[in-house]
Subunit: 67 residues, 6 copies
């Protein structure tokens, strides 16, 4: 019954990609730890680039520099 | 001074229902653990059904199957 | 299929109290929002008083002042 | 490589203020704990006032009372 | 630069299994979403069975019933 | 009434350092966003190096390589 929370920047992940991610993480927990998929919850949160910081600056600022 | 985070799928919870949930959880923490309501924080997060997975598939996919 | 995370200071909540809290929060989500209890997950995290701050000071410091 | 999650009510924080917050928290972790800024992640989440409760009521209700 | 938080019950996951999980989740984010592994953070939290509830009861209670 | 969660690896942060961090983050939220310190909550979580991954490997493995 694991709970997985994935935070990514909101930069266009499609519903198909998100479904693939959910399936992949669930399979991994079944394979590596023997968890029950029926009660494995995966929640994806997409965060605006203005609200995500790394290295002390926002991803918005980094994207402008081509990072 | 507890902190409670409630994640639910975004499927139409009204402001009244959310206020009722906040009141109920706060009362519960006061009654069961003797916590101070004045510093009890409850944050509700509503997550798109595309971004919530259980049993390895998205809630969007499950809703289409009538689950 | 809600997910609830409750953070409290580690100050002696018994297993019975924690079980009561889990039952109470689950019932509340069923009653207020019509959620399915079978897939409702509640995780309680107990945090050392040195690691919890409110009003800019640790709970350890507050407890010493009788707060 | 710390990870910091800041939740605030959605009440008009500008991109500039959020960038300042990200810079400030990162600097603090470098100064106080000697952490590496390059792998320090700060995520800000802005929550609707209907979804944030304190003292058993929503911030929306509190704002109406002038609190 | 995703951030992934995995919560599981504390029931004996070995360091090797946890390392495998970290590697697997990171690879998945690279493969599915094209994320940079160097800034992908995965944090595993192991929660006592007394503190994890599903279906309104603790995992401790469920384990006693053979669930 | 912000809520801040800081996750760091468990590598010897003293109570004094943690108190300094709590004070610093609270001051920052007051100064930058005009938040009320009395209801600002800061929770620090210290995570075992076996349970923290970056770049696809655990911090335990990285420390052995002198990273």
């Amino acid at each position: 019954m694991p709970y997985v929370n994935i935070k990514i920047t909101k930069e266009g992940a499609t519903p198909e990609k998100k479904a693939e991610l959910i399936r992949g993480v669930t399979d991994l927990l079944v394979r590596v730890l023997g968890k029950n998929p029926a009660t494995t919850v995966v929640v994806i949160e997409e965060v605006e680039t203005d609200n995500w910081g790394i290295g002390g600056e926002t991803v918005t600022a980094r994207r402008k520099k081509g990072l």
